[in-house]
Amino acid sequence: MEITKTQHATATVLALSGRLDGLASPALEKEIDAVLAAGSKVLVLDLSALAYVSSAGLRVFLTAAKKSKTAGGRATFVALPAPIREVFELSGFLTVLDIRPDVAAAL
């Protein structure tokens, strides 16, 4: 999986590309922790190029949302491809996570 970080005025966008499996998820968690440690209040995860996610990746997403909220900010998930959206729905994530159509809507 590739993670591309873009810094905006008030938000940090992490664009994920490829497969977020149990082997790849620790690297994403580390990257998210670094963004939060740097004081970013708005974390945007762009999933438009995400081909696959398993429960290990979902755990990282849920943890990111919880940590952001605790820090007084938010984590927003944007541009979910259909199969990723189905996994979010089955996990009940569509109701607990902040989900928006695209990056522009999340800034």
């Binding site: 497969r19 499996d21 149990g22 082997l23 081909a51 696959y52 996610v53 398993s54 429960s55 290990a56 979902l58 755990r59 849920l62 943890t63 949302a65 919880k66 909220k69 259909a82 199969p83 189905e86 996994v87 729905e89 089955l90 996990s91 009940g92 109701t95 607990v96 996570l97």
Partner: protein, 148 residues
């Protein structure tokens, strides 16, 4: 169209096996031309069960010190079956408690989602303890509409 013959893959108890198993499933299934959501659902089920075997079945074992198998097969046209066989202590992953997917963010447990997703995404799932082996059979009918 002739169905591809069953293929057995031997895996070590190491999370690094996850992408290798996913790629092997994709290569084996190619003649069946599975729709992308079906392939992703099967790869997800494969990853979750491999992770369960490593974390629960072979807990406290050094990575790479144990092995188990997964057989890919097509029991009928338009149907893919994964059969996982390991010799760890008896463990039925399907018996895990249901997760509450309607709980608010703060109350949402971090774990337990994997088995929930496997049950939702597979057309058929069955566990059996046979002699010294745990045998988990997972099947998905190709073209299954999105579950909810």
């Amino acid at each position: 169209m002739s169905l591809p013959p069953p293929h057995t893959l031997t895996l070590a108890n190491d999370l690094a096996e996850i992408p290798r198993a996913a790629a092997a499933l994709e290569a084996w299934a190619e003649p069946l031309d599975p729709p992308m959501p079906d392939l992703m659902a099967l790869q997800l089920a494969l990853e979750e069960t491999i992770t369960n075997i490593i974390h629960h079945g072979h807990r406290d074992q050094a990575p790479g010190s144990r092995s188990f198998t997964v057989e890919f097969s097509a029991p009928a046209p338009g149907r893919i079956r994964l059969t996982l066989t390991d010799d760890a202590p008896a463990y039925d992953p399907l018996a895990r408690a249901e997760v509450d997917t309607s709980a608010p963010l703060e109350d949402r447990p971090i774990g337990g989602l994997g088995v929930h997703l496997v049950k939702k995404l597979m057309t058929h799932a069955a566990y059996e303890r046979r002699g010294p082996h745990n045998i988990l059979v997972l099947e998905r009918a190709l073209g299954t509409p999105p579950a909810s």
